[in-house]
Structure formats: C-alpha cells, structure tokens
C-alpha cells in the first residue's frame, strides 16, 4: 500500500467531463429515426381476473400499435430466479399497476389520453395487504402458502442455552418500503428487424440480466438479442430487475410495429409501478449474562416481497446472514421468510436485506444495554467479532480485523462519551429541544452470497484499440458509483501506464463478456480482481512479443500495442472468476464462508428533537469504516456520504403511503427525500487496510453506508427523548402519536 501511482489517488471520474458539460447521453436524450413512443396500460385493482379489454371512443386506434400478452412470441415471463413474473398480465392481475397492455404512437402527447381510454374490466378477488394476512394464508395469493422463500440458519445449541441466561430480552422491529428515487426514471428504446435481431438500449444496471430475460420472452437466439446500457442516472438496485420489464415492453412494441420504440416513465409512473425496498418485521429474543455477554438468540425475519418473487429469495438470504450484526454469537437461530402480498413486487435496493436486519439488531442492542444498565458502546464492545471467532454462518474470521479500533475512532471523532453525558444532563432541564447521540456497528458482505460468485462464473477481458489504448471489457456498468473510474485505475496501475491511456469498452452485450451484474458491492472486489488479472495477461503478451520491454513508459506501451494489433489483428486477454482459497458454502445448511470479505463500520448520529413539532434534525454524522483498500478517495467518500443521506431519508423522511396496494404519494411533492438543507455534515473516515480479496486489497463499499444510519439515528432519538421507537421511517406524526396518544409508532397508515 502506498506504492501505487494511480490506485488510491483521486483521479477524475472517467465520464465526468461529459456529465458536467451536459453532453452525457441518457436514454431520454436519444432519438432514432421513425421512432414511436410507448406507454403502458396498468391494472387498477390489486387482484382479480381480467374479463375484457375495451378500447374506448375518441381515440384513432388504427394509428396506434397495440400489444397484449397474446403478442408475446416466447415465454410470458421476466426471467429472474423463479418463473412467476409475467411480462404482461394475461388472465390474472396480482397487484395494482401490473402491466396489461402496451400502446405506441409517433406523437407521445397522444399517449396519456389513449391509455386512459383503455378500459379493463375485472372480476375482483380478495387481496393481501399485510405480512400478517399473508401468514394466515387466507387467501393464498402465491404458491401453496404465500411463502416465496424461507431459511433456517443455526449455530450452536440454541435450545440448551436459555437456562444459562441472566436476562432474556425481546423486541420487535419494523421497516417500511423505500423508493429508490434515482433522478432519472426508468426508460428503454428497442429496435427490431428480422436480419439484425433485437437491440435494446436502456437505463440499467445488468445488461446480461436483460439479455437473459429478453431471449426467453422473444424466443430469439441469444446472438439476435443485444442489450446496450446507456448513461444511467442513478439506480441503487432499482435498475437491477425492472429494466428487463420495460425493455421487454419496448421490444414487444418494436417487434410488432417494425419501428424503434421508446418507453420512458414519468416520475409518477416510475414511483407507482417499479420496485421498492422490502418492508420488514424482525423479532429478536436474546439471552445475555448480567455482564453483557451475548449467549444466544432466536431471530425471526419476515420480508414483504409484494406480488411476485423477483429477487426476494436473495434479499432474504442477505437479511438472514446479516441478522446477527458484527457480533460473536456462540448460539443463534435465524428463521426467515419472504411473503407474498398484493403490492407491486419489492426488489433490490442498496443493502439488499441487510439494512432491514441490521436496523433490528442495532436497535435491539440498545434495548439490551438499557435492560442490563450497561452503556450501548460498552455492550457492543464486549461482543464485537474478533479474528479467530466465527460468524453466524460459522465462517472463521481470518482477516486481521480490529472492530474495537473502529469503534474507538467513531466515539472519539463524534465526542460520543462527553456528549452522551452532557445531553442527558441538559435534556433533563430542556423542554423544547432535546439532544441525543447514538451509534450503530455493522458489517456488509462483499459480492454475491455463498456460492453465488461461483455460479456467476464471471469473465472479464481487456484488449487494445487501434490507437493503442488499453480497453476494459466488462458488463459492469456505471450509474454514478464510479465503475468506469476504478476499473480503469486498476487496469492502468497493473499495466503500468497512465490512467488516460485506459478506456472502458461499451457496455454492450455484443461486445463485452458477461462479468455478472453490477450489484452486491461486487464491482470493486470481484470484477476489479478480474480486470487486474486480464491486465496482467495483456502485459505478459506484449512483453513476450518482444514489442515491449520492462521499464516502459506509457507512450512505449501505446506504440507496442498499436504495432501488435497491426501485426496480429487483435490483442486481448481474459480472466475468469476463481473462488478465493478456503471459500466453501453449504446452501442447504447455510453454513460456511458466506462472503469472501466483509466491510465493517461504526456510525454515530447526533440529533435534536423538537418536542413541539416532533421534528428531528440530524446535527452531525460520523461514519468510520474499514473497506479494505480505498481505490479512489473522492469516489469512496462520495459513496459513503450518498449512502448515509439515503439512510437518513429512510429513517426520517421517506414514507411510502399505501392504499389497497397502490402507492398514494407517488410524487416528489409528497414523498420526501433529504434536500441540501436536511443533511448534517457527514464526516467520513476510512481505517484503510488492504485486507480484501479484490485488486490491491479492495472490498465492497457501495451498500455498506445504507446499513448504519437508521439504527444510529433511532438510538440517538431514544437517548434524546427517553422513548423507544422501533420502526422506520419515523416521521413527526409517528412520533407525535407515540408521545401523546401513547400508541406504538406504526407503519404507514393504510388509507
């Protein structure tokens, strides 16, 4: 560490100039000749049978291209894990806003009226709008019992240890849905001809997910389907699965009309129809000794998956594995299930189940601390994982981690102890404004869970351009997090050339190999390693050719690369994923190395609660983490700050209000995200240790900062008010109800 020229340096974002000049081309900035505009007719009810579709008067329907489920050439399915998510509802609908028919017209201004003139008639069936109703399985709305997936994860002998407990502490915790609110809505353009096949350009995270889904939906051969990611204006998981849907819809209209078709959602449609973070309910029952040693726990997790299974099984998996937090549990049993309801499907959102279960454990730790009369930081300190101990999946901590050091630094930077004592003293005499400080300790596994990376079997490549520039060929996409920049840094560092002499290949499935999806905090660590290996291969080939000699400068590399291409046609090196040594996973028992590496963090939030308005202001935020090697300090800091801001939103502002399965506040006017005046100073500190399995010691970073803010803030609110709140989001009206009427803070009221 410290020897590198480019890795670890704040080089400029690769596509940054295009972005600050307004030149970057997003999907809605693109127009193709003869292009039509598409729109979607959606279900107005939560559950039922479609009786008929009528096209009302006043619309020149002969000018429109109309697609229904009967036009689907292949499988009527958005392919993910299971086979339950239709591309268009054929006979049944299972949630409000479910797509039923598609319309296209050259004049986009005619579409809203046309959509409104389509009348779908239904036989309405009873629907399920809560996890409790879903658990009762009456009615059954999915499968045999409304359960998408369940896990049982056990370590030690949970049943035998209760008798040794001095105290048993129980708690129940809940989190609400959260909208990604990327500033760019979902959108896609499709073009089709029998000769060229199908091309879909889109705002998306995972080109090969869309490819797989569209091959299945169209029935076309793989080589006749091409997916191209264009500049993507934020994603956060929200463009992991849904682009397969909107891409399929654009494709169907393009195939039927023979013309290119663009579908771009407006904000209201994007918020109402696309996926959100899974709401959760987590129950904890914990055995502790009177001196604060965790003996064991039973944890029950329930996630609301919405109407189709989408990614719920894998979200649940991550929630399950992270449920115990960063602590040593001699005994633990986690039972988890993802349940079907009649909301639009919930999907991937930064953190992917971990924020839900970490919110629960980190609020629960404060409850345990209070029950035992031990300070919250001290209780955590006595139980933090150490090298040589095992995680809840039995994974041996082999890294030389030092979580106490992270905690010490977070407490020192936030002046935690002095403030904890001072606020408690001052709050006793304060009537209008009370202050509090709270912390959360947590971990986040990097990359796919368990055997996931082995199944993905990712392939990365590097080649050189005709001009002799090195080029990174991956399906990993840029949507603001810095993929382009860090992968070029790794390549440039490894090749020993300037950052400017490396460029990214196009994120186009006809050009790049399948490096897997851009999700799960896997790009820095997993893909970075593959790019590193491919760069090593490229360099070896050039050196072996005799065109290049050790000690070369960038211009010599460029000349040699150019010459090689002239002589041989191409210069290319590939690298395929190999599991790090000692990584084994038992999918049945949920035992083993759940992740090749974990990022670790301790966050501290300081708040002021206005006792007249019940408004909460976060005054200061300290985020200390160990993410292995920091590849680019500006980008990494930006990832942490952005994640913390999203976590603050989830905790205090962002409430999805549901009415019979439909989002009622699907506007930026009444779904509130933090503004520039709502965010405290976010002070980011890295304990930099090159411990990861990624190139130059990197681990995952993108999702980690979503995990800690909500519990840290609610712990601070409990410190300020003396009242325990165990649900997020916690809005002033929720606090008002609990503080005045004495009702427990509840999830969003169903209208």
């Amino acid at each position: 560490m410290g020897q590198e020229r480019i890795v670890g340096k704040p080089v400029l974002r690769k596509e940054g100039v295009a972005k600050v000049c307004g030149r970057a081309q997003y999907i809605d900035d693109l127009t193709l000749p003869e292009m039509l505009y598409g729109a979607t007719v959606r279900s107005s009810i939560a559950r039922g049978r479609i009786l008929g579709i009528e096209f009302g008067v006043g619309v020149p329907w002969d000018e429109f291209v109309i697609v229904t489920a009967t036009d689907i050439p292949g499988e009527n399915e958005i392919a993910l894990i299971n086979h339950d998510w239709p591309c268009l509802a054929a006979e049944f609908v299972n949630h409000p806003e479910e797509p039923i028919a598609l319309l296209a017209h050259p004049d986009r201004h005619l579409l809203p009226k046309a959509v409104a003139a389509v009348r779908v008639t239904y036989e309405e069936w009873p629907a399920v709008f809560s996890m409790e109703e879903s658990e009762r399985a009456d009615p059954v709305v999915w499968g045999k019992d409304n359960v998408f997936k369940s896990f049982l994860m056990e370590k030690g002998d949970v049943d035998a240890m209760w008798s040794q407990a001095d105290r048993v502490v129980e708690g129940e915790y809940a989190t609400g849905a959260q909208e990604h609110l990327y500033i760019e809505n979902n959108g896609a353009i499709a073009a089709y001809s029998a000769d060229e096949g199908l091309t879909v350009w889109g705002s998306l995270q995972c080109p090969f997910y869309v490819h797989k889904s569209l091959v299945k939906m169209t029935g076309l051969p793989e080589e006749k389907v091409r997916i191209v990611q264009v500049e993507t204006g934020g994603a956060f998981g929200g463009k992991e699965d849904y682009p397969s849907m909107i891409g399929a819809h654009a494709a169907l209209l393009a195939m039927k009309s023979g013309k290119p078709v663009k579908i771009v959602y407006d904000r209201a449609e994007d918020m109402a129809a696309t996926t959100k973070r899974h709401p959760s309910r987590v129950r904890h029952r914990t055995a502790v000794t009177s001196d604060g040693k965790l003996l064991g726990a039973e944890i029950e997790i329930a996630l609301d998956g919405g109407a189709y299974s989408t990614l719920s099984a894998t979200v649940l998996s991550r929630a399950t594995i992270h449920a115990g937090g960063p602590y040593h549990w001699p005994n633990i049993r986690v039972r988890s299930k993802a349940l079907a309801t009649n909301y639009p499907p919930h999907g991937a959102f930064r953190g992917f189940g971990a924020p839900q279960s970490l919110f629960a454990i980190e609020r629960h730790m404060d409850h345990i601390a209070e029950a035992l009369g031990i300070a919250p930081d001290e209780l955590r300190r006595r139980n933090l994982l150490k090298p040589g101990q095992t995680t809840t999946t039995g994974q041996l901590i082999q890294e030389d981690i030092d979580l106490e050091r992270l905690m010490d630094r977070a407490l020192a930077e936030s002046d935690y102890h002095a403030k904890r004592e001072r606020f408690a003293r001052e709050n006793a005499g304060a009537r209008m404004k009370k202050k509090g400080i709270g912390l959360a300790a947590f971990l986040h596994g990097s990359g796919f869970t368990g055997s996931g990376e082995r199944y993905l079997n990712s392939l990365a490549a590097m080649d050189v351009t005709a001009e002799g520039k090195a080029r990174v060929l991956v399906s990993s996409t840029e949507f603001g997090q810095g993929t382009n920049t860090i992968l070029c840094q790794i390549a440039a560092e490894t090749l020993g050339i300037d950052y400017d002499a490396v460029e990214m290949g196009p994120p186009d499935t006809s050009v790049v190999p399948n490096t897997g999806p851009t999700v799960a905090s896997r790009t820095s660590m997993v893909v970075g390693k593959l790019v590193h290996s491919a760069a090593v291969g490229l360099k070896k080939t050039l050196l072996a050719s005799g065109l290049l000699h050790e000690g070369y400068a960038t211009d010599e590399f460029v000349l040699a690369a150019r010459t090689y291409v002239t002589q041989h046609g191409t210069l290319r090196a590939e690298s395929r994923y190999e599991a790090p040594p000692g990584v084994h996973w038992d999918d049945q028992q949920y035992r083993g190395e759940a992740y090749a590496a974990y990022a670790w963090a301790v966050y501290v939030a300081e708040v002021t609660v206005d006792m007249a308005t019940y408004g909460v202001v976060v005054d200061d935020f300290v985020a200390v983490q160990e993410v292995g090697r920091v590849l680019n300090p500006v980008l990494a800091t930006g990832q942490i700050e952005g994640g913390v801001a999203q976590g603050i939103g989830w905790a205090l502002y962002e409430k999805v209000v549901w009415g019979r399965g439909r989002m009622q506040n699907n506007q930026m006017t009444n779904y509130i995200i933090p503004t520039s005046q709502d965010i405290p100073p976010i002070r980011v500190f890295f304990e930099e240790r090159p411990l990861g399995h990624g190139a130059y010691g990197a681990k995952g970073i993108g999702e980690l900062p979503m995990d800690g803010p909500a519990p840290a803030i609610l712990n601070a609110i409990a410190h300020a008010t003396g009242k325990q709140f165990d649900c997020v989001p916690l809005l002033p009206e929720d606090m008002f109800r609990a503080m005045t009427v004495g009702e427990p803070a509840q999830e969003a009221v169903v209208l």
């Binding site: 760019e184 904000r267 603001g480 995200i673």
Partner: protein, 160 residues
Amino acid sequence: MSVQHYSLVVNGELKRVATHPMARLLDVLRCDLLLTGTKEGCGEGECGACSVLLNGELVNSCLIPVAQADGAEIETVEGLGANEQLHAVQRAFLECGGAQCGMCTPGMLVASAHLLRKNPHPDLAAIREGLNGNLCRCTGYMRIFEAVERAVTSVGEERA
C-alpha cells in the same frame, strides 16, 4: 390553441421555434433545440434537474410554458462551458466528486453558477440554501458543497 412562433436567446444565440404556447420550456430546449443537457426528473418543479436561467433568474423549465419565455434570454448547462473551457463550477464538480450519476448535475451546476453570480462569497449556509431546490440522490450533497466552495476560491484566484 394552435402552433405559434417564439424567439428565445439560448446561450447567447437567437433561436426561433414554432410550437404550442403551453409547451414546456424544458421540451422546447430538449426536443426542438436538441439541447438535451437539461434533464427532466419529476416534471412538477420539485427536483430541479431541469433548472435553467431565464433572464438571469433560476427557474424549473418544466414549469415554464414557452409563451412565458418568448423573447427571454435562457442559459442552460451547455452555455456554462464545454470541454477545454469548463466553467469554474464545472471544473470544481469534476475535481471534488460533485457529479456522480450526472442526472442532477446540469441543474445543480446552473443553480451553483446562479448562486455565485448573486453571491460571489457564499458561506456554507448560503450554499445549502442556494441549492435547496435541486435534489441529488447520489452524493449526499457534501461533495457538491465542497465543489461550490472550491469554485468560489478558484474564481477568486482567476480574478486576482
């Protein structure tokens, strides 16, 4: 209402468009004048991604009917600077990490440039207030604040 003719001075150039009087300035810029740097985020004046300057005032172009902009001077992100001649705020956003996904960036840059014209030496509170009509979902705003602060410094240095 039928199609009407309108004249706008966009980034210093006179432009004529024939369109519906209630066409949004945002659509006129993006679809008629092919200036796609200005983005649509919400279409209801909440997010500020479509921010432009209309006669020097910061507006959400999604809320301005073109009839209201007839004869006006409009400045968009494309007018701030390009490539080798970046505006100080563009360069600072690039260096400080103020742009992540880039979707709020054009509006955020226009708002930042507007802030610095009105107040060449804003403190942090003034920066926060000046940008409160522009939502960013990626950065948590810290890098953006730093960028505006750096732009203040660099503009000062250039003048010195």
